[in-house]
Symmetry: C2
Subunit: 463 residues, 2 copies
């Protein structure tokens, strides 16, 4: 390991220069005018993987191509005869979010600039910089002739920012060769450089569009007000009923499948650095709010929600317009936690709304397919191995955290490749992923390489 | 009276031609490009009043001019020595709504056309045709030398469709000469030609804009959902709380000042022709709805309301956006009934919302000044006189009704001129006032003249 670590240290400047080259390619998957640039970026990445010493192929899809790069057989040490050599998949994506609005950037998004410890460019943190750290760690093994304790396959797609539509068919087709012991993804964040963390759970999600239809057209509220039900009022009453005043979701059965937090988890979550006054300041609210009996950290990552994302009805312009609106609509998303299933929650929410809706109006519900929540045991050997690698790389005791957001491909990949996913995010809270002045802290980049180098050892030991 | 009625009958064709001339003038008060046309229309009306035999003046205002036309002293019969000669004011407006959208009209809005019994033009029903009927009735008295039992002053303004801002200062200034025994306004409607009606009450109104502010910016519902209150949810809960499930307003004190309906009123309202199934068909709703213990007619005209006119919050576009919106807003109007006061209801609603609003968000309320409700006793000699005139003109027993809408100038004029207002609308339900293909039924026009001719006799007798 000493050789590997030394190689990483000595080549830091070159790695940053290479990452800059990678970031210069405007691989914006959402914009048709960048189609060629996305393909060029895949080509660049594949060429780079070959330079690193990986067996690389570009797989075309119905959308943007997927780059697959494997460590060669020769790279793996002999191991113990009795033991199968483990296989790990590193997932990442080379596509980036659109850079707009351009005028809010301090330097052009595809002209990487270093200011202080940060490298500014679209895709720096999300996700080029993060998977590039793993690539450089594997390079260190290969170039120093240090035997790897495992096989590693990089699967770097080009459609993460547009919904990964072609990833599932690809994984399904290449299931056999991609069967893995663990999937490693660095595409999330950590609270700070001194707070490295393993993210061991994600919330799922299901979305609803709830429409209440009343009279066939907007009615004059003077002529008919009081004699016909108001769809906006019905909508408000239904939504109000779905949540108790204390923040608990009041939909029968909503919490039935939720796995309670263990004492170990609660102790770990309590170690996260932000306290209640930090949150209040950050969000600009007078008081925090949420389900009784849980801390802010627990509420925002380990508890399910029923959240109104938008309301639309009647007149929204200046002044007043005296109508009974013909219809009212709410956009709602529920965040789900292990072991809730989107289909079950869809059923419960729809049933609840249908039962609560009065016969004076018509209720229409459009529900999405949703995404599963995800969790691995934080006490499992795999998680503990990741924690040891984090500690070795960052030089301090790592945290265990759960992510409140949803990453649909995580449960999907896990199911398809028959492996657990460990999430080792490297982005700091102010990395501005998806926003202007996206940046990646170069210390995160360097420590990410160290983390990766240690991870293969620790994971293989725990296998 | 016979001579008067005979004059009206003989001159019907000319009256219609004159009304068409009046309707050809595009007196759209809201549109700056019509400013000159509005002035020309006032000039035409004043000239016409002079031809009729009225002492006429055009009063300029800060906006459009007001035409005032009085019966000359010579027109009034000697009366009894012991009795003061009564003075009645007829209010109307010569300005009209904008005609747009033009493509929905079957003939150009300012080229009056007769099809069947209807005269189509912008302003035909609202309000040129209606006050013109009164003008023609007075003409019949003047031209036949039939002594009038009263003095009559026409006050025809040019800003009703833009809020009558200059009417109050005008009335205040000319208070002494305009002091009246009764004010007559024909600017509302009746259920049908066989259902002539006296409108003896109007609802008032007060409007609110209710804004709930939460976090300083829209938040990612994955990262923060569950840990911070959702302004849209708070808004829904507040609004839901304001109305009980059965339709009663649940704001403490809301009904305190409401004058209960008398048995006489309820019997009269029950005579109105539309039944529940007519309403359901008309509005396109499955079921009607409203305060228990009241009929649809009673609910829509004699009971106060708390009506949501619009909702705005967060994401309203296609698909879903997973945010906790930073704010949510509702537009609400309350219809008020005699004897509710806008200031008192504003106080009650604001208090209710402030008390019900949780400390996790900020509540902002903008409330309008509102308009008073209005009512005269349907059993008063004045109302009974109007009913007799209606019966004489239409040849059937008239109805007593209340209007659910609000006409702010009615309580205003009543207060300023120290007189009760009687509302004798002549428009049929499909007159399309404010809409395309506005029309005035020529039978309504003719019967309106008869009504006016009888009204001066009946009112003077009851004085």
């Amino acid at each position: 390991m000493h050789t590997v670590i030394d190689y990483l240290r000595r080549n830091q400047a070159r790695f940053v220069a290479e990452l800059c080259e990678y970031l210069r390619l405007p691989s914006v998957s959402a914009q048709a005018q960048h189609r060629k640039e996305v393909a060029r970026c895949a080509d660049w990445l594949a060429a780079h993987c070959r330079l690193v010493g990986l067996e690389t192929r570009i797989y075309p899809t119905n959308g943007h191509p997927i780059v697959v790069a494997k460590t060669p057989r020769s790279a793996v040490g002999p191991g113990k005869k009795s033991k199968r050599i483990p296989h790990y998949v590193v997932y990442g994506h080379y596509d980036v979010q659109p850079p707009e609005p351009l005028d809010l950037w301090n330097s052009p998004p595809f002209e990487p600039r270093i200011r202080g410890k940060r490298l500014y460019a679209r895709g720096a943190a999300d996700n080029k910089g993060q998977h590039f750290a793993h690539l450089k760690a594997v390079e260190a093994y290969l170039k120093t002739g240090t035997p790897l304790p495992c096989n590693i396959t990089f699967v770097i797609e080009g459609e993460e920012e547009v919904g990964s539509a072609n990833l599932e068919p690809f994984l399904r087709k290449h299931k056999a060769e991609l069967q893995a012991d663990t999937i490693v993804i660095s595409d999330t964040g950590i609270p700070g450089l001194r707070y490295p963390a393993l993210t061991y759970g994600l919330r799922g999600i299901i979305s609803f569009e709830i429409t209440i239809r009343g009279p066939k057209t907007d009615l004059h509220s003077g002529i008919y007000g009081g004699a016909v039900d108001n769809p906006a009022h019905v909508l408000c009453a239904l939504l109000a009923k779905a949540r108790a005043a204390d923040g608990r979701i009041a939909i029968p059965g909503f919490y039935d499948d939720v796995v309670p937090l263990t004492d170990y988890e609660r102790r770990q979550l309590a170690r996260l650095p932000l306290d209640e006054s930090d949150f209040k300041r950050l969000l600009g609210v007078r008081r925090l709010f949420g389900e009784p009996g849980y801390s802010t950290e627990e509420r925002r990552s380990t508890r399910p929600t029923f959240e109104i994302n938008g309301l639309t009805s009647g007149y929204q312009g200046e002044g007043s317009k005296t109508i009974i609106p013909a219809w009212a609509r709410a956009k709602v998303t529920c965040r789900l936690v292990p072991n809730q299933r989107p289909a079950r929650i869809r059923h419960l929410v729809c049933n609840f709304l249908r039962r609560a809706c009065p016969p004076t109006v018509r209720l229409e519900i459009k529900a999405g397919a949703g995404a599963e929540p995800y969790m691995i045991s934080p006490e499992s050997p795999r998680a503990q191995a990741a924690l040891r690698a984090l500690e070795a790389a960052f030089g301090c005791r790592p945290l265990l955290m759960r992510e409140g957001g949803s990453i649909p491909i995580v449960p999907q990949m896990s199911r398809l490749l028959g492996a657990e996913v460990i999430l080792l995010g490297l982005a700091l809270p102010d990395a501005n992923a998806h926003g202007p002045n996206e940046n990646f802290n170069l210390d995160c980049f360097a420590k990410g390489q160290l983390l990766s180098a240690h991870l293969w050892q620790e994971l293989s030991r725990s296998n």
